[in-house]
Amino acid sequence: MSLVGYTLAIFVIVAALATAMFRDVLSAIIVFGAYSLGMAILYTLLLAPDVAMTEAAIGAGVTTILLLLTIAKTTRPTTDRLFESIDVPALFVVGAFVVVLGTQVLPEMYAVGDSEAPVWSNPEVTQAYLEQTYEDTGVQNAVTAVLAAYRGFDTFGEAVVVFAAGIATLLVLKREVFA
């Protein structure tokens, strides 16, 4: 991981902490937008440009707008304190959770980018997709090929879930028109 990567990782952690600690909801939403953008760049460094573009457009763009609209429609509590007070029991639970993950799970993981890792070296999944994509489908972007061809049925279910969520939002708000 390059220096850029480590800088981004620190930026992302600081932004996440600020999101958690800001008492003002508007500030938290804005910092969360910056956090999403940082994550998008991190995904690019980890060789996932498709994911990064989606995260930048949806995570940093649409999510921020929807959150802003919600506090405009409901309420934004006024406060004179900058930061939340720390909830000690919650911090204890979360701390234990992270420590267990860090000490017990982390050493068992494969190193990031290890070409021996089963996800990448599996000849029947990743390697098969990489080697056969062009021959099978005639497209070069393997992500598109897996999305629309190899796992088209999954994508179909997912599209229907998104459609259903749109309908559910209208139902909850008791609206009968899309626009």
Binding site: I13, Y43, A48, V51, T63, E84, V112, V119
Partner: protein
């Protein structure tokens, strides 16, 4: 310890972000902030999937999953990230925004019904009913 962090940085970052997201869900009094916490937790999971797909050889990162336009690539020649986790994350992001919107709609309804978004006030109001 340092060596562990240097080789597994993405997973360490993911654990920290999972913790922050979980803390927001538990400790925040405001419902909108709780939902932001859920989103933060979600992005940490996305980071896990993307890190699993990442590949490098001798410290040199491979390529993004765009294969060359040949029908017979030489075996072991393609050092490209795995496309499958990317697809899973791609669909998860779009489902995530749709579900966030449903959550926000519920928050708007709660505010219209009870006039507050604070969890403790909500609990009092509901106990009085």
């Amino acid at each position: 310890m340092i060596e562990l962090l240097a080789t597994r940085y993405a997973y360490a970052l993911m654990f920290v972000l999972l913790g922050i997201g979980l803390y927001m869900v538990i400790a925040s009094e405001n419902l909108v902030k709780k939902l932001i916490g859920v989103n933060l937790f979600q992005t940490a999971i996305f980071l896990f999937f993307v890190a699993v797909a990442y590949v490098e050889v001798d410290g040199e990162p491979g390529g993004s999953p765009v294969v060359p336009a040949t029908t017979e690539p030489a075996a072991g020649d393609l050092i490209l990230a795995s496309p499958l986790p990317h697809v899973i994350v791609l669909t998860a992001i779009v489902v995530g925004i749709a579900l966030t919107a449903v959550g926000l709609a519920l928050i708007v309804r709660i505010h219209a019904e009870y006039g507050t978004l604070r969890e403790d006030t909500l609990r009092e109001v509901r106990a009085d009913e």
